[in-house]
């Protein structure tokens, strides 16, 4: 009983921490996005508030909070208000399942007259056996947010935007799901941590009884599933409703899509939700195809060895520093992909809606199926024809 | 010459003729077709003579040339080959068929000269001969049956030769169907004999036939032979199946001569003679045959007295004469039956051809009331017809006398005979003399009643030559079977050739212990000849001297005369009692059983379904929630049941 409460407490804290982290990351991302877009478009961007305009977001936040909270006349109150709140939840919960670093192993130690531990503190919200399925499931719930918001606003533009967006999400979910079947088959697990660990070290695999080692390449999923990567990455754009797939808020057609009627703090929540999706996408790409929190070229054991020799002496210290190193490695990759998202947004034009649907159903889905079959065949050949 | 080759030529020659004429039925002209056909039969005739010559050279007890070409039906015990046999009995037949056939073919060339379908006609005629040969040569009942049906078929075709006339076509159909009735019985007879004796071969059957005459009516021999005899009544036009033959006169006259006088109709007699031992073993059957034969002889003759159509008269005469043959067969005098068959073939063919000549001359007129005094126009026809007349009324020494007299004698004296049969025979003979004389008188003698626009003329040589040949045969044909009473007074005591020829192969009732005086024979002979002559004289008197008398007599007889002239209303009886009710019954079957009962039953089933459906469909309210509730109720019921259990 006590153990249960302890676990629940720890997990609760982790959830809150991750939630806060994500919320805090949003202002930075917004800043990056605005500065980045300015950079891309050859202009300055926000640069007045604070150094490099870093305080701009703070100011924005104050502005958001002070805006009038109003309800459109035809809006459905319950939905109109719950939708923004609900926007946060799937993103955050899903992100919790992504491993961020090697687990922190705490040896037993005495504090305040009691023995604590030993305890293994996983660097992730919670470790779920069927991680991918969980994330896909939770993130698919995001469609409700959009629908609730769109319909709840009592506005035709909102509704149309919502319908478009949700249809888009459902459509691309297929391609998304199928594109990672190859990954799942490759690693033989749904568990994200296992996947990450499977990518450690230099590239090596066995093919028809021969062990192949390529020392100059990391053992990343990217090299095994290039097509899967492309498809997955493209699909995540659609899933997170970002350009070039942000039809839901196509300004020229629909004003601002499902959040036309939203403003102020509620708008901010949608922002956060959108960025949360982006972060999930970046995290998943990192995890599936770029070795997650692994440092390229080094296995966690090697790093632990390195730390033990050079940086720390106590087991707890070693574990902590190793975890931090991996955490950093993760965030570097993660940031890179976030930047990529932003970069794409300001580089590519928007699709037309039918092009979007054609791409999803007629291009990506068949290719994803092809990738699945190809992977299956290759795996079969690789293992069964020794 | 090789027997099987001869036999093959004998059989196939007419068939080839049929094929050629049949294949070129639109191209072959009358002369080509006719001479082709005649030649074909003539070749057969020559083969027959060669075969018979060989046969004569054999010892009397084993005169038999058997040829088997191939197996026809072989199943289990049933082994029937396409086997053909020439023995003394069939020898007579093939000679008659091919001989008389040749003459009739020749006659036809002239007779049918102007007909359009002449090649077809000759083709049919050849086919008929072919079938007839199969009939008489076949070594088993089944082979015979092939010919039996085949000749029926040809007869059908030839009777209906002028098919555009509905009545003629109907006559053909009538002939075939009536024959079929007989054939059905024939089949049954075969089955009975086969079941009992395990073979259908004539010689085997004759050998296996019980030596002790069968007393029971239900014995195999009796039943089998009885059935075969019913078959024979069909083919040979005996009571009760004779009705087709008078109608069959619808065909061309030479056909009547060949098929309906000389050959086909005698097939029944031939069959009985063939199976003589079997028939002997069945005295009950023989009794029936004799009675039927005698009755037919009398009845047909009586009808013949009232007919006005020249061919109809001859047709009834044929029926009557066939009755004599059956009478002979029925009293066990098979040889005599064959004898009469032969002589009858000569004189009846002669008379038919003569009548054909007359009809030809009269431009297709057949009513003797419109003839008369044709003697002066057609002398040859008259003379030959005259000899035929003498032969048929049994005037010595013409052919008919010997055979008919022998029949009457046997009818009286045979162990199977009876004085009543004799009496019937004499009565028949008297009537025959009457109607034949009447025919002669009305046609050739007396005053001419020929319409003015008709100019009778003598027929061409092509037609008269056969008449002459047949006339000669009618004169001398009887001398083959001179009985010993007559022969004893004749110089040189001529032997009874026919008896010697047929005797060894026939099993006739033994005459041991039966002695009849020669005096009696002479007496009986005298009675019959005398009565016939008297009758002929009376007829001559009536129809030549005082043509009014017959009318008066006819009037005074009233209903009886009308009944007889309407042929005892037998056709009407058959139609009224059998055919029309059958058709009405069939219609009822169709309209009522098929449509009303069977179909209605199925409809009833369908209606039941429909009714059930319309009751149940009220449950289908269209309210889906109600359906769901029914499902729920069903679930409740099932679950309750599960729990209660």
């Amino acid at each position: 009983m006590g153990q249960d409460i302890f676990e629940i407490t720890i997990n609760g804290i982790k959830l809150i921490v991750i939630f806060l982290l994500m919320v805090q990351a949003v202002p930075i991302l917004v800043w990056v996005e605005r500065r980045g877009s300015a950079f891309i478009q050859n202009r300055l961007g926000p640069n007045r508030v604070g150094p490099l305009g870093l305080m701009q977001l703070l100011a924005d936040a104050v502005k958001f909070l002070n805006k009038e909270d109003f309800l459109p006349r035809k809006a459905v109150r319950a939905l109109f208000y719950t939708a923004p709140v609900y926007a946060l939840i799937p993103g955050v919960i899903a992100y919790c399942a992504i491993p961020l670093g090697t687990p922190l192993q705490i040896e037993a130690f005495e504090m305040a007259g009691k023995m604590w531990g030993p305890y293994t503190f996983a660097m992730q919200g919670f470790d779920i056996g069927v991680g991918i399925v969980f994330i896909l499931g939770i993130s698919s719930l995001a469609a409700y947010t959009i629908l609730m918001a769109g319909w709840g606003s009592g506005n035709k533009f909102s509704l149309m935007g919502a319908l478009r967006a949700s249809a888009q999400i459902i459509s691309y979910e297929l391609a998304l799901g199928l594109s990672i079947v190859g990954v799942i088959m490759l690693y033989g697990t749904f568990n994200l941590t296992d996947m990450v660990l499977a990518q450690q070290g230099p590239m090596s695999f066995s093919f028809m009884g021969n062990q192949v080692v390529i020392p100059w390449l990391p053992n990343w999923g990217l090299f095994y599933q290039p097509l899967g990567f492309i498809l997955f990455f493209a699909a995540t754009f659609a899933e997170s409703n970002r350009l070039p797939f942000d039809l839901a808020e196509g300004e020229a057609e629909l004003v601002a899509g499902f959040h036309t009627e939203y403003g102020g703090f509620k708008m901010l929540m949608f922002f956060i939700g959108e960025y949360a999706h982006m972060m999930i996408a970046a995290g998943l790409v990192t995890t599936f195809f770029f070795g997650g929190y692994l440092v390229p070229g080094f296995t966690p054991a090697e790093i632990r060895e390195f730390v033990a020799q050079n940086l720390a002496s106590t087991p707890n210290g070693i574990s902590a520093i190793t975890s931090v190193i991996h955490l950093l490695a993760y965030f570097v990759k993660f940031a890179l992909f976030l930047w990529f998202f932003i970069h794409v947004r300001w580089t590519l034009p928007r699709f037309r809606y039918d092009q979007l649907m054609d791409l999803g159903w007629k291009t990506m889905l068949p290719w994803a199926l092809f990738n699945t079959i190809l992977t299956a065949v290759v795996i079969y050949v690789a293992y069964n024809f020794a | 010459m090789n027997h099987s080759l001869l036999m093959a030529i004998l059989l196939l020659s007419p068939f080839v003729g049929f094929l050629i004429n049949g294949a070129r039925y639109r191209k072959n002209g009358p002369n080509l077709a006719g001479w082709l056909a005649t030649t074909a039969i003539a070749i057969s005739f020559i083969c027959s003579i060669l075969l018979v010559a060989d046969l004569i050279g054999m010892p009397a007890e084993s005169r038999r040339i058997a040829v088997s070409f191939f197996d026809w039906i072989v199943i289990d015990k049933l082994k029937v080959a396409a086997g053909f046999v020439v023995d003394p009995i069939s020898a007579i037949m093939i000679l008659v068929i091919t001989g008389v056939g040749t003459l009739i073919h020749m006659f036809s060339i002239g007779y049918m000269h102007h007909d359009k379908g002449v090649a077809k006609y000759f083709a049919y005629l050849n086919l008929f001969v072919f079938n007839m040969l199969i009939l008489v040569l076949g070594d088993s009942l089944l082979t015979m049956f092939v010919g039996w049906e085949g000749v029926g078929l040809c007869s059908y075709l030839l009777i209906g030769f002028w098919f555009t006339d509905k009545d003629k076509a109907a006559a053909g159909m009538k002939a075939f169907i009536t024959n079929r009735i007989g054939d059905a019985a024939f089949l049954l007879g075969m089955f009975i004999l086969f079941m009992t004796y395990g073979t259908l071969n004539f010689f085997d059957l004759n050998q296996l036939a019980p030596t002790v005459p069968e007393a029971s009516w239900l014995g195999a021999a009796t039943l089998g032979t009885l059935m075969l005899f019913i078959g024979a009544t069909g083919k040979s036009a005996q009571i009760p199946l004779y009705v087709w033959l008078p109608d069959a006169m619808a065909g061309p006259t030479p056909v009547s001569a060949l098929i309906h006088a000389a050959t086909m109709v005698t097939a029944g007699v031939y069959m009985i003679v063939r199976l003589n031992a079997m028939f002997i073993a069945a005295p009950n059957t023989l009794m029936i045959i004799a009675v039927i034969g005698a009755a037919t002889a009398v009845m047909a003759a009586s009808i013949g007295m009232t007919q006005w159509d020249i061919k109809k008269v001859l047709a009834y005469s044929t029926v009557s004469q066939l009755g004599y043959m059956f009478l002979a067969a029925g009293v066990g005098a098979f040889g005599v039956a064959m004898f009469h068959l032969m002589t009858h073939a000569f004189f009846k063919a002669l008379m038919f051809l003569g009548s054909g000549s007359v009809i030809h001359a009269m431009h297709e007129e057949q009513d003797i009331r419109k003839m008369g005094a044709l003697k002066k126009y057609m002398p040859i026809t008259h003379i030959t017809f005259f000899f035929g007349w003498l032969a048929i009324i049994g005037m010595p020494p013409f052919a008919g006398f010997f055979s008919k007299d022998e029949i009457l004698w046997k009818a009286m004296t045979s162990p199977l005979g009876h004085p009543l049969l004799w009496a019937a025979g004499v009565l028949g003979a008297v009537m025959t003399a009457f109607y034949m004389t009447r025919l002669m008188a009305l046609t050739f003698w007396g005053k001419s009643r020929v319409p003015k626009e008709v100019h009778p003329h003598e027929s061409p040589a092509l037609m008269t030559i056969p008449l002459i040949v047949l006339g000669l045969l009618s004169i001398v044909g009887g001398w083959l079977g001179i009985n010993h009473a007559i022969s004893s007074i004749l110089p040189g005591h001529p032997a009874n050739v026919l008896e010697h020829w047929l005797g060894p192969v026939l099993r006739e009732p033994s005459l041991d212990g039966v002695h009849h005086s020669v005096t009696m024979e002479w007496a009986l002979m005298g009675v019959s000849v005398g009565l016939a002559a008297l009758s002929a004289f009376v007829a001559y008197h009536f129809y030549v001297r005082s043509p009014e008398t017959p009318k008066k007599i006819a009037e005074s007889l009233g209903p009886v005369y009308r009944l007889i002239s309407k042929k005892y209303l037998v056709d009407e009886l058959y139609f009224g009692v059998i055919i029309n009710p059958l058709i009405a019954f069939s219609k009822n079957l169709w309209h009522h059983v098929d449509v009303q009962v069977i179909d209605k039953t199925t409809y009833l089933l369908a209606d039941l379904m429909k009714g059930g459906g319309s009751v149940v469909r009220t449950l289908q309210t269209g309210n889906m929630q109600q359906y769901a509730m029914y499902i729920g109720l069903g679930l409740v019921a099932v679950l309750s049941f599960v729990l209660m259990r």
Partner: protein, 108 residues
């Protein structure tokens, strides 16, 4: 019966009762609601209730086949929903009506 702590000892019966409750709710909805879409949703609810039973039995009898069955049920439910919705949309486009009582053209 062994002493049972109904609150703390969560056993098969709990799941079964829960599933029965959901099932009857769904059934109630099918019977009572008039909106075709809601009826379909209620059917989904019933299916889910059954799924729960399957999973529970699977767990408590230690056989995985129950889960397979659920898998199948889900697939079929998805198919059913797709076709059903397509039909309803077609009907709605024509008649502008979703009331089940409106669709009684097939009554006998």
């Amino acid at each position: 019966m062994p002493s049972t702590d109904v609150i703390n000892q969560i056993g098969l019966s709990h799941y079964l009762v829960l599933s029965a409750a959901l099932f009857t709710m769904g059934f109630l909805g099918v019977l009572m609601r008039r909106n075709v879409l809601v009826m379909m949703m209620c059917i989904e609810l019933m299916l889910n209730a059954v799924n729960l039973t399957f999973i529970a039995f699977s767990k408590f009898s230690g056989r995985i086949d129950g889960q397979i069955m659920v898998f199948f049920v889900m697939t079929i439910a998805a198919a059913e929903a797709a076709v059903g919705l397509a039909i309803i949309v077609s009907i709605f486009k024509r008649y502008r009506e979703v009331n089940i009582r409106f669709f009684e053209h097939l009554k006998g």
